[in-house]
Symmetry: C2
Subunit: 129 residues, 2 copies
């Protein structure tokens, strides 16, 4: 029987993360970068300027934060609002799409924060073995 | 008023991802690595050998898969069972802790797969602007 490949639009109704050629891979890589996760947590319920975001997220470099925000803007998760004043005033907030992905990421973040003692205890056991 | 720092064990009852010095950061980095996410999805409901895992996860190199599995074993998410036979037979499965984190990660993965068309459409809009 002949195998018919469905058109691209139809195939893309759903991504396939286990498929190396699926564009969902690139989005996964970006969304799960450590800094993207922390930006989503930091912007959960407020709009922040670059410098405020940087203070809130301990340890992020200016370069990494700028790159992370650019990717998140490209993927439609973050909105960048620039006010035409001197000195420049730029603010960032999560878009509705960004809030949706933040809800997913937050489940993971909460789980990690709550279960950290269990994970660290596990590591000790592994070291002792 | 004097500020009293609680003892380490007490402070570690919960991680703080926004704090650069919290060990949850390292766990977040490992758990959200692209390959760790895909290993959790691939091992959701089966035990697999290294070569089977590698086939299932498109595009992963032998080196990256080995490193990812080692980290996941250290954090107690993956169990490695080696059977003393010739040739060696090694199998991997998620531990109960690994299944818990997989549930969290899966929410994100499902969301990404389902919403990929919206994210890609968003990117086009950004390109046009």
């Amino acid at each position: 029987m002949q195998k018919i490949t469905p058109p691209l639009a139809e195939r893309l109704q759903r991504g396939e993360l286990l498929n190396v050629n699926c564009p969902s891979r690139e989005v996964l890589k970006r969304v799960t970068s450590r800094w993207a996760v922390l930006v989503m947590i930091a912007l959960k319920s407020e709009t922040l300027r670059f410098s405020e975001l940087r203070r809130k997220i301990g340890g992020v470099s200016e370069r990494m934060l700028a790159q992370t925000l650019r990717y998140m803007e490209e993927d439609g998760f973050v909105a960048r609002v620039a006010y035409p004043v001197v000195p420049p005033h730029v603010e960032y907030h999560l878009t509705p799409l960004g809030q949706e992905v933040r809800e997913q990421v937050e489940g993971l973040a909460d789980w990690l924060e709550s279960n950290l003692p269990r994970i660290l205890a596990q590591r000790h056991t592994a070291d002792d073995a």
